[in-house]
């Protein structure tokens, strides 16, 4: 396996520096660029996804600029590191607002989205969630919106599917003890029982835990026929691996975080039957995806981490384009307030990678794609809407 870390990081550093230096360079060009801020983990344990998210946005920025830009202006991405940590997220957003004077920014990872909400509301700067799925995000205030479906969209459908279609009756829910896992686990429980199933085990684990034997033995003793794991890429593979090593053969489901080729490598045969959700159309549904993946492989030297999420990141630039151009047509300056109104006025966005997006207040609803692992590959399982 080739390690692309160095070139990618240099690429990021270089582009970040360029982004910061951008105004100086661009003044040489005709129009000032539109800068889109994104607060993502560029370092830390979640950087594998965060860095790729930013790359996805940059690809879109390049494409949009080459196609004429937003209202004729080039597009640039300004990425700041959050390490998926709330405090660093706060710092990053304060920089966006105080130093860079941005009217809008994109952000992900539930703990961060929640932490920066008060700032957005206070300063009237628009925050758009592009990857976190804590249901509370729909209630964080007037200036916090989501372009990414929250857990009540995919987890609810997954739970119902597990009962109604897969015929499971006894589910165990294992979840990470933070914003990412707590509410999503509750939603799974709610819908699984509503569909007629029974939750036989409901266990939280520490985000830093590496050893799950006790929890798994407790789970095994409860005799489930389905295990749903809601965690992060740093722990989900471990839980599954240790499950299998303890002789637990139940089918495992999780959410889109595990839709990642690395998991297949780590788990090998243990991944067979794993069900993951995806909130973005796959190669079969969206013909634009295959060339996009090829382009990514060529530029980065490997497959993208978390493809469905990256599809959303890419589309965010197009969404911003629609919002800015709405304001531009009306001759309104882009501020947090006006962009928010633009978001609600435009409401329906036709986006290249993820399809149609309808902004329904502080929520979006999308079809849920289920995939499963068969013979070491992710294959489509069902589409739920």
């Amino acid at each position: 396996m080739t390690n692309i870390v160095l070139p990618r990081r240099q690429l990021l550093a270089a582009t970040a520096l360029t982004a910061l230096a951008a105004p100086a360079i661009v003044r040489a060009q005709s129009k000032e660029p539109i800068r889109l801020g994104t607060a993502m983990p560029l370092t830390g344990s979640q950087a594998g996804y965060g860095a790729d998210f930013v790359t996805g946005m940059r690809m879109a920025a390049k494409d949009v600029t080459e196609a004429g830009g937003i209202a004729g202006r080039p597009v640039e991405i300004l990425a700041l590191d959050t390490q998926a940590d709330p405090q660093l997220g706060i710092n990053a957003v304060n920089r966006f607002i105080g130093v860079e004077k941005l009217p809008m920014y994109f952000v992900a990872w539930s703990p961060v989205v929640k932490a920066v909400a008060p700032i957005s509301n206070r300063e009237k700067v628009l925050a758009i969630n592009t990857g976190a799925n804590a249901p509370e995000i729909a209630h964080l205030g007037d200036y916090v919106y989501t372009a990414f479906p929250l857990a009540d969209v995919d987890i609810s459908k997954l739970a119902t599917y597990s009962v109604k279609t897969l015929g499971k009756k006894r589910a165990a829910v294992l979840y990470i003890n933070n914003d990412t896992g707590i509410d999503a686990a509750k939603i799974y429980r709610e819908f699984f029982t509503a569909a007629g199933g029974q939750i036989v085990a409901f266990e939280a684990y520490d985000p830093k835990a590496t050893e799950f034997t006790g929890m798994l033995l407790k789970t095994r003793a409860a005799n489930p026929d389905m295990v749903h794991i809601h965690g992060l890429l740093t722990d989900v593979p471990q839980v599954i691996a240790q499950m299998r090593q303890l002789g637990m053969t139940q089918r495992v489901s999780t959410y889109s975080v595990a839709y990642n080729p690395k998991i297949l490598e780590q788990l090998g045969a243990a991944a067979e039957g794993l069900i993951v959700t995806s909130l973005a159309p796959g190669v079969a549904e969206n013909p634009r995806l295959t060339p996009f993946i090829e382009r990514w492989k060529k530029e980065a030297g490997r497959a993208p981490n978390g493809l469905p999420y990256i599809q959303y990141q890419y589309d965010m630039v197009l969404m911003a384009k629609a919002m800015y151009e709405y304001l531009d047509k009306k001759g309104i300056a882009a501020t947090g307030e006006s962009l928010r109104e633009a978001l609600l006025a435009v409401k329906t966005f036709e986006l290249p990678m993820t399809g149609q997006m309808v902004v329904d207040g502080h929520r979006v609803d999308k079809p849920v794609y289920l995939l499963t692992v068969e013979k070491g590959q992710f294959v489509p399982l069902a589409t739920l809407s």
């Binding site: 706060i90 008060p118 700032i119």
Partner: protein
């Protein structure tokens, strides 16, 4: 003409305060950048915490690597009171500080019984316990923390903006620094530094070491809590992710790097550690290199921290104001003469360590105003005797009486209160304090003005300090080292250090002064001074017990000599009587005198 408060702050001090206040006022107006104002806010409250940590670590020499826990107590208390109980910031903030102080006190009480690495680890465990509890407990919001924490409101009803909040924090920081400076220059600071110098010696002049360590811990907790309160209301959000071990380390590092035990060390350290990341932020990964590298270099090459190392440069020392000359007040010697002169009696004293009988039914009566020698071969129990009489050991049986009153079994500082003090065979001075201040520590039991008076530097407290400085000077003259008054105690020659210890002992107005092998390691010239001092102390009316091996000295100065061997008194009398006593000769030489010598 003195002010009632801040009575000793001279014109330079006031100038400094005004300059600081103006800087705090002008910074946000000049910078006018919301992000940097936030950085400045953080710097200001972390600086307050660093001051508190320095009081504990730099002044008192105790370790805590769990202060993030106390910071968290302040933050969560204020956050919960405002979000769940509807308190206003102005009420919740002081309560948060008090809560942190109480938490610190509760932590300190059991923990300060442990020393060194054990204390460090107990505080470490505490820090983790706070973090884990905050993370798991629903009351504190669990891992998701507490949101929508309101900021302080002005009388008009509006919430403070970033600039006004910075003024609040910065102003508070200035106040904390001024109060800390007051303590630093007062008996409070002196006492804490003495603890770091030698806890045992501090006990013998009457300092309740444990209580003072708890005080230092509580002070540092209060500062940590104050910082935490400001932090909680800065961003409207807190969760347990902030209060991690790494924060405790960062706080310690800022105190250490700046220069622990100096007045402005915490400021320098805080500025560097908190501004560095922002300055180098655009260098992304290299920022961490630079940050870590700077810290490493400072720790290795500047062991006294930045300010500490600067203070060692002669150039810098030349710029510091020279202390004024102090006119000695000889009334302190007169008071020694007039002091009570009770008889100190040791009756039937025994001290056993397991099966070893270090002292066995020893009876010694020390006549007031005399020099009572105590001799004996190695292992005869002389050191044990001194340790029991000064309270370091409790007697197994028997009594120590001062003027007929039983005092045996007290703690060392209790014994000091009863008038018994000592010097040590291996000299124990407060090395970081000046010679004069070493003697000042000896006045501990006589100083009347307490913590609050010195915190606010009242006129009365300042006047008392001046009075006693003059008395200390007189004592230094008495032992002949007045010319070294402003030097650091650790820079004195061995003999001078001996004499300083004696001066410190005299400062306690002792009813009995025990000198434990004062001639050890002393050269013949110094020996002469020593005998002279002992004679003059006797002339001043103070009763002395001198333990010695140096026969010439002891025979020369003693009025009575008691001889111990294997824990028992085998002889007592004048020098001549003892010298001729066959039992004494046998004890030293091993057999009835026949020209045989033992090596």
């Amino acid at each position: 003409m003195r002010l009632p408060l801040l009575a000793a702050t001279g014109p330079m001090g006031w100038l400094g305060i005004v300059a600081a206040a103006l800087t705090v006022y002008a910074l946000p107006l000049v910078l006018d950048d919301a992000f940097f104002i936030l950085v400045m806010q953080s710097l200001a409250y972390l600086y307050i915490v660093a001051i508190g940590i320095d009081i504990l670590v730099g002044w008192t020499g105790q370790i805590s690597i769990g202060h993030a826990g106390l910071y968290a107590v302040g933050a969560y208390t204020s956050a919960l009171l405002t979000t769940k109980a509807g308190f206003s910031f102005w009420a919740s903030a002081p309560l948060g500080v008090v809560a942190a102080g109480i938490a610190g006190g509760l932590l300190a009480l059991p923990s300060l019984r442990a020393k060194g690495p054990y204390l460090a680890m107990v505080t470490l465990a505490f820090g983790f316990m706070v973090e884990v509890t905050a993370n798991r407990w629903d009351f504190t919001g669990g891992p998701m923390g507490i949101m929508s924490i309101p900021g302080p409101r002005l009388p008009s009803g509006e919430e403070m903006d970033g600039t006004e909040y910075f003024w609040l924090i910065g102003g508070t920081a200035i106040v904390v620094q001024v109060l800390t400076a007051n303590l630093y220059r007062s008996r409070i600071g002196r006492t804490l530094f003495a603890l770091q110098g030698s806890e045992v010696a501090a006990e013998t002049v009457g300092i309740n070491v444990y209580a003072w360590k708890v005080l230092a811990f509580v002070l540092s907790s209060v500062c940590a809590g104050l910082g935490g309160v400001f932090f909680a209301h800065q961003n409207g959000f807190i969760n347990s992710d902030t209060f991690v071990f790494g924060l405790s380390v960062q706080l310690l590092t800022s105190a250490l790097m700046g220069g622990s035990g100096t007045l402005f060390g915490p400021l320098v350290g805080s500025v560097i550690l908190n501004l560095l990341p922002t300055i180098f932020a655009h260098l992304h990964e290299y920022q961490l290199y630079i940050y870590g590298g700077i810290i490493l270099v400072t720790i290795v090459f500047m062991p006294r921290g930045i300010v500490g190392s600067l203070l060692q440069l002669n150039v810098v020392r030349g710029l510091l104001p020279k202390p004024a000359a102090i006119a000695p007040d000889p009334s302190v010697i007169a008071e020694l003469r007039e002091g009570a002169r009770p008889t100190v009696t040791v009756r039937d004293l025994s001290k056993h360590f397991g099966g070893i009988r270090a002292l066995n039914n020893v009876d010694i009566s020390i006549k007031p105003g005399t020099v009572h020698g105590l001799i004996g071969p190695n292992g005869s129990g002389k050191s044990t005797f001194v340790n029991v009489v000064t309270g370091i050991y409790k007697p197994t049986s028997g009594e120590v009486e001062v003027a007929g009153k039983q005092v045996g079994g007290s703690s060392p500082h209790g014994m000091a209160r009863s008038g018994i003090t000592r010097t040590f065979q291996s000299i124990r001075l407060f090395g970081d304090l000046s010679v004069l201040n070493n003697v000042m520590v000896g006045f501990h039991l006589q100083l009347r003005y307490g913590f609050l008076s010195h915190l606010f530097q009242t006129a009365g407290a300042v006047a008392e300090e001046e009075r006693y400085r003059r008395r200390a000077m007189a004592l230094l003259e008495f032992v002949g080292i007045a010319d070294r008054a402003e030097d650091l105690a650790q820079n004195l020659s061995y003999g001078e250090q001996r004499r300083l210890e004696i001066a410190r002992g005299l400062a306690t107005k002792p009813k009995l002064l025990l000198l434990d092998e004062p001639a050890a390691g002393v050269n013949p010239t110094e020996l002469h001074y020593l005998a002279d001092v002992i004679g003059r102390i006797k002339a001043a009316g103070v009763t002395q017990v001198v333990i010695e091996h140096h026969m010439e000295l002891i025979m020369g100065i003693s009025d009575t000599i008691s001889v111990l061997d294997f824990g028992q008194k085998i002889a007592e009398g004048t020098a001549t009587e003892v010298r001729a006593n066959p039992k004494v000769i046998e004890a030293y030489l091993g057999a009835p005198a026949e020209g045989e010598t033992h090596g």
